[in-house]
């Protein structure tokens, strides 16, 4: 029998639990400073970050491994998450006019922006949510991309009016045209058909997503997405938050945004002037960043050692962040705001976004290979 003294189980539990003590602290602090709604939303954001980091639920990687290796696992998990979120979101939108869906115009800017976003997210190795959760856990490339996401999102929104002048049609809400049942039937069938096609074309014998984690992650993301709608009154979004931060910073530097078509509206000017913690997207973003860090700290995977990063990859990450932010505002959202929330809200723009961004990702993967990036 070993004579080595083992620490009392309670002693070991203290450092294991320590990171999670941040959760009630964050909830209390945000509730105290910004109110009960924001306190609930920071918990939702923490959940998003924890799920994304714990299950490696990556929109970007899911598309890339299907395009390169024909492994459909990530893509199917995304379809499952969107389908389940739709089952909660569409009936709520159909019966509760106080809730807003993610419905956006069908514009040339949507097609161009989504295509460019799809390419940039492969170079940056992260979409909107991916860049945030990886930055939160200390991934160098995502931290490098983050300032560009802020600047790009602000500028893209500021220029959105000009891009829309190229031509656009009004947004199409399937909930309004087909009703809740028709929307669920039509979009559910489309997701099943796409999933079946992806499965039929599979080639890979192994997958990076081993076990049930990614499927549980898909279910949890859907539940959290519906919770976001119920609490905030709007679906989950990412890139509006960094844009608002950029608008605040340029205002502090003396810029006057009152003449801008996007930032100069009464509601947005009020939002720029108000505390940033009042913004629902900011709160879930901050929660997402912290949630991913907590999971990484718990697992000892925070601040990963990825070896030396060549200068051109640092530059590529910075530029990709800028392009991600800018293009996402032309496209009315990223993988979360347009793809996940757009389709689960029954908006046609979500499907257009998916098609254009997926095509863009094929170009982005080639760019990634030329830059010598791994994975």
């Amino acid at each position: 029998m070993s004579s080595v003294a083992r620490p009392h189980p309670a002693v070991g539990a203290v450092p294991r639990l320590a990171p999670w003590a941040v959760v009630p602290l964050a909830w209390f602090a945000v509730t105290w400073v910004a109110g009960v709604r924001q306190g609930l939303l920071v918990l939702v954001g923490l959940g998003f970050g924890a799920v994304l980091a714990a299950t490696a639920f990556g929109f970007t990687t899911g598309w890339r491994v299907w395009l390169r290796q024909r492994d459909p696992t990530g893509l199917l998990a995304q379809f499952l998450a969107i389908g389940l979120a739709m089952l909660g979101t569409v009936p709520l939108l159909a019966t509760h006019p106080e809730l807003s869906g993610a419905v956006a115009p069908l514009s040339w800017s949507l097609v161009l922006g989504a295509f460019v976003f799809g390419a940039a997210m492969q170079v940056a190795d992260g979409c909107g949510s991916g860049t945030l959760y990886k930055a939160g856990l200390g991934h160098p490339a995502s931290i490098a991309a983050f300032p560009g996401l802020v600047i790009g999102s602000f500028l893209g929104a500021a220029h959105q009016d000009w891009w829309l002048s190229w031509g656009s049609l009004p947004g199409v809400s399937l909930v309004e045209t087909l009703g809740a049942g028709g929307t669920i039937a039509a979009q559910g069938a489309a997701l099943v058909v796409l999933g079946a096609l992806a499965w039929r074309a599979r080639r890979a014998t192994g997958t990076r997503w081993v076990g049930r984690g990614v499927w549980i992650g898909a279910i949890l993301l859907a539940v959290l997405g519906v919770a976001n709608l119920v609490i905030a009154g709007q679906p989950w979004g990412i890139v509006y938050g960094p844009g608002l931060w950029g608008a605040k910073i340029v205002t502090w530097l003396g810029a006057d945004l009152s003449g801008n078509a996007f930032w100069g509206t009464e509601a947005r000017m009020a939002q720029v002037a108000a505390p940033v913690l009042d913004d629902v997207t900011t709160i879930t973003n901050l929660g997402l960043l912290a949630g991913s860090l907590l999971v990484a700290a718990r697992r000892g995977t925070a601040c990963p050692d990825l070896g030396p990063v060549p200068m051109r990859q640092w530059l590529a990450a910075i530029v990709a962040g800028l392009v991600l932010g800018y293009s996402s505002r032309l496209a009315f959202g990223c993988n979360v705001g347009a793809f996940f929330s757009g389709i689960s809200s029954g908006s046609l723009h979500g499907w257009v976004w998916f098609a254009a961004a997926f095509a863009g990702s094929t170009l982005g993967i080639r760019l990634r290979e030329r830059l010598g990036m791994k994975g």
Partner: protein
């Protein structure tokens, strides 16, 4: 080598932004806070989603 310094700088910048914002933003009216849930209450102003134009 883990890049802890880069991560610390990132989190410090983020925290600094939130603190600086608190000192520069309009004071919050605690009596005008929205209800805990949007569901069943007044419609939000619609200022802050990615799908907005």
């Amino acid at each position: 080598m883990r890049r802890i310094g880069l991560a610390l700088a990132f989190w410090a910048a983020l925290a600094g932004f939130v603190v600086l914002d608190a000192t520069r933003s309009a004071p919050r009216d605690r009596f005008a806070e929205p209800p805990p849930l949007a569901l069943g209450n007044e419609r939000a102003s619609g200022a802050g989603h990615c799908s907005g134009k």
